[in-house]
Amino acid sequence: MSLFDSDFLKKLEYLSLVSRRVFRGKLLAQRRTKQLGGGIEFADHREYAPGDDLRYLDWNVYAKYGDLLLKRFQEEEDLHVYILLDASRSMDCGSPNKFDYARRIAAALAYIALADLDRVSIMAYADKPLDVLPLTRGKDRVLSILKFLENVKPGGTATDLATVAKSLVNRAQRTGLVVIISDLYDQAGFRAGVDLLRHRRFEPHVIQIHTEEEANPSFLGDIELDEIETGQRRKLTVTERKLKQYRQLFHEFLAAIETYCKTYSLSCTRSTTDLPFDELILRMMRASGIQS
């Protein structure tokens, strides 16, 4: 079975419809950028400067207070959606496969965005950008996006979101929504990267994926663990007590990410790979609806 079969496409269409009917104007698309210009929706005032178009002077304010203020309007522009897909080797594990799951989510989000006439760019990364799909627009570009995602392979020797965020910031023509799909097993890099995006007025949205086995490992006794991302090995004697401590540590890790996102009002979605991807998208939609 290929990664994006006909069932998958049907689910994408369904998700697109649901997003339009239920969450009109509240999800990714149809959001207004903060670009100010010649729109019809009032944004704010600024002081008049010689040479400004007098048609936009707020004569009511001038009549009342004697101040020369120029009205500014929000310019209606397409939303730019940047999807950062973690393609490090740590994603290539688990059953169902964590990377496949991430690609499906990326595809779903891209489809919804394109259906809402937004621009979508996808960047697969590890310690650096591995592959980039430039900004694209129109629903007819869906197939090229799916093809791009199908061709992406896990690689790299580490995960460094900070470097990748820096690359995105430098490369992006405009700010927009940045969806990070990753297991986030790179805490320092993750925070630095997200911070950079925030500071550059991007809107980061974090989707954290992990497997059930990662949360609750079941092995015991003497065992040699092989980290698939770096090839590092470690011999351990795993006891029940150690397992308990591991679960506690993992829980603390998840809680720390959640706290971080809440601190900066970032959207954060967490899921295990055994949850169907469409269920996850719907959950995200509901969360967005509640927030807005």
């Binding site: 688990g94 015991l220 591991y246 540590l249």
Partner: protein, 660 residues
């Protein structure tokens, strides 16, 4: 000073080498891919064990494994203290498996079961060099296992030692034990495991080699201690039952004694017994059929075996008698008055007596007397066995044989036998009643084809038929011809021998007359009869116990001894080919010239000593026996057990998780 029983087995200590090697090189660990070591690194680097014992965890595993090997090797080489080696014992263990050991204690376990457990513990405690033998003492002394050091053999022997219903035979068992130990008596001992319900207790206790260990506690018990049945001498269909019931407890009891014949209730007798009291009852009842006669006490006490007793009431079979007479009313009347007699009257004498019955010929004799058992009254003519002479001058009864069953209970002093004739016999006869000139008035004549009873007296002229002696005389004659079969079948007490007489061909032939054709054939060939008897005496027989166990025996003579009888109930002796129901009542009968050896007898405990469930003296406690046997186990067992515990601990601490 420590010595080792099997030092050669110390090479098992080499097992430590692979254990250490495996520990050092570590068994190839399972490899498992994970997405990140981030958390494992944090876990193991930040939370390193700080306590010294935590750092020694794996060393402790090695130590435990090595300690296990050490203990295993120690158990294998079996260390002995020198005092233990010097105190090697030779023990004969006498296990009392008599009837009283069948008594159930308060915990629901029989005394024999308790004794067996103690005996097994003792067998397990055998040291190298120790020897033990097992002798059972239920009914007879049996060496179950000879002197051996093999504990398992002893334990199997103990387990196979069967409960008996017989009295204890401890004195013979002790004699057997002494014979086993006689070559080295200085380090020998005889251990008896018993409940103390034994005769000759003091004699046994005074034996210096013997130590008596007790099992069980004193208990209440009521028992049937005597039981016998016989046919009534006065009444052909009547029988008398002798029963003695004994209360060997310390409390007064009230119970009922039920008597049933072939599962039909015959009588119920209420009985009240004071402590230690015995009551004897004689019960009279009638039955012609006979069968299994069971007496049962309606009481539930510790020992059930002696609460019931069984015997066989012999069947009274009808006796066919053919009377050949021209009209003797006296003979006809007296024979008709006899119970169980099936009388037929004929005017001519047949060739033989009826099968299993008698032929009575009055006056007119055939020239050749018929075969079989024949009563002759007032012979008038000559035959092949006698010649009739003149009438006796003084046919007065002068002498009556007192010791003959044919003339018992008869008084005929000075009675006239008118018409009596002088008989001259062709072969010797036994004169039972004689006149003053020693001429026989009543004689018995033995012959191969069946005995004769000859009375010379004219019944019409004599007052003999009017005397009470006449029916008694006829009854004696009939019972003599019938033999004692069916009168009494004595009960065989358990622990004794049962004797079985194989009927000879001659006896069998006397029991009934063969058909005419067969009679001629047999008469023509006396050698054939002799050879048949020899063949029959070697016949293989099968003994069936009440529980259905069968054993074979070969009868070499006329008498067969069976036993000692160890089981209560009905025993049957039959030819191996006999497939009839073993519980049926057997009859010795002749069937077309073949002798049937089938014989059934009853066996009951009926032993006061065994039924008294109180020990006759002070017994050593079984607990002290356990101390002698080091808690019932040898030291190597505890070493092995400790090693096993260490192994389990090591698995629990380290290996269990791998399995998980």
């Amino acid at each position: 000073m420590l010595e080792f029983a099997s030092p050669m087995l110390a090479w098992w200590a080499a097992l430590a080498v692979p254990i250490v090697l495996i520990y050092i090189i570590k068994v190839r660990m399972r490899r498992r891919p994970v997405s990140t070591l981030l958390f494992w690194n944090q876990l193991f680097d930040e939370k390193k064990p700080r306590a010294w014992w935590q750092q020694l965890r794996h060393w402790l595993s090695l130590v435990l494994q090595l300690a296990f090997v050490l203990l295993l090797v120690a158990a294998l080489i079996d260390p002995l203290w020198s005092w233990q080696k010097s105190s090697q014992r030779r023990v004969v263990l006498i296990l009392d498996n008599s009837a009283s050991m069948k008594a159930t204690e308060a915990d629901g376990i029989t005394r024999l079961q308790s004794a067996k457990e103690i005996a097994k513990g003792l067998a397990r405690s055998l040291r190298p060099g120790d020897e033990m033998s097992l002798v059972s003492a239920g009914g007879q002394s049996v060496v179950q296992v000879g002197l051996t050091n093999h504990a398992r053999l002893l334990i199997e022997g103990i387990a196979e030692c069967q409960q008996t219903d017989a009295p204890s035979a401890l004195l013979p068992a002790i004699a057997t034990a002494e014979r086993l130990l006689k070559d080295r008596p200085e380090k020998s001992e005889i251990i008896i495991l018993t409940d103390g319900c034994i005769e000759d207790f003091e004699t046994i206790r005074n034996n210096p080699l013997v130590k008596i260990y007790g099992v069980g506690t004193a208990q209440e018990n009521t028992a049937i201690t005597r039981y016998q049945v016989r046919r009534s001498v006065m009444d052909s269909v009547g029988y008398q039952v002798l029963i003695e019931v004994t209360n060997s407890g310390v409390e007064e009891i009230k119970t009922k004694l039920e008597l049933s014949l072939e599962d039909s209730l015959v009588d119920v007798v209420p009985i009240s017994l004071k402590p230690g009291e015995s009551q004897t009852r004689i019960l009279d009842h009638t039955s012609a059929t006979g069968g299994r006669l069971v007496a049962k006490l309606d009481s539930k006490d510790a020992l059930g075996t002696d609460n019931s007793a069984i015997t066989i009431l012999p069947q009274r079979a009808p006796l066919p008698i053919t009377l050949v007479t021209s009209g003797s009313l006296f003979l006809k009347s007296v024979l008709e008055s006899m119970p169980l007699v099936e009388l037929s009257i004929s005017e001519t004498a047949p060739n033989s007596a009826p099968m299993g019955g008698l032929l009575v010929i009055d006056r007119k004799m055939p020239e050749v007397l018929p075969r079989g058992r024949v009563l002759i009254v007032d012979p008038q003519n000559n035959t092949d066995l006698w010649t009739v002479g003149e009438n006796l001058e003084q046919p007065l009864v002068a002498h009556v044989a007192k010791d003959s069953p044919l003339t018992q209970h008869i008084r005929l002093d000075n009675v006239l036998f008118p018409g009596a004739k002088q008989l001259t016999f062709s072969q010797p006869v036994e004169s039972l009643i004689r006149d003053p000139l020693d001429s026989p008035l009543l004689a018995r004549l033995k012959r191969p084809g069946g005995d004769l009873w000859i009375l010379t007296c004219n019944l019409e002229q004599s007052d003999l038929p009017l005397r009470i002696a006449f029916p008694v005389l006829i009854k004696n004659a009939i019972e003599w011809f019938q033999g004692n079969e069916g009168q009494l079948r004595p009960i065989v007490p358990t622990g004794t021998l049962a004797t079985f007489s194989i009927p000879s061909q001659e006896q069998a032939e006397a029991t009934a007359a063969p058909d005419a054709d067969q009679a001629e054939a047999t008469t023509d060939s006396a050698i054939a009869v002799e050879s048949t008897t020899t063949e029959l005496s070697r016949r293989d027989l099968q003994v069936s116990s009440p529980s259905g166990k069968k054993s074979s025996l070969s009868a070499q003579g006329e008498q067969v001894l069976i036993g000692p009888i160890l089981e209560c109930g009905l025993w049957t002796v039959a030819p191996i080919s006999d497939s009839r129901d073993a519980t049926g009542i057997a009859k010795v009968e002749l069937n077309k010239g073949n002798v049937d050896y089938r014989w059934t007898f009853a066996s009951n405990l009926t032993n006061r000593s065994e039924s008294d469930l109180k020990p006759r003296g002070e017994l050593l406690t079984a607990d002290s026996l356990s101390v002698v046997s080091l808690g019932g186990r040898a030291i190597w067992f505890y070493l092995a057990l400790l090693g096993l515990m260490l192994l389990t601990t090591e698995w629990w601490l380290y290996q269990r998780r791998v399995v998980g």
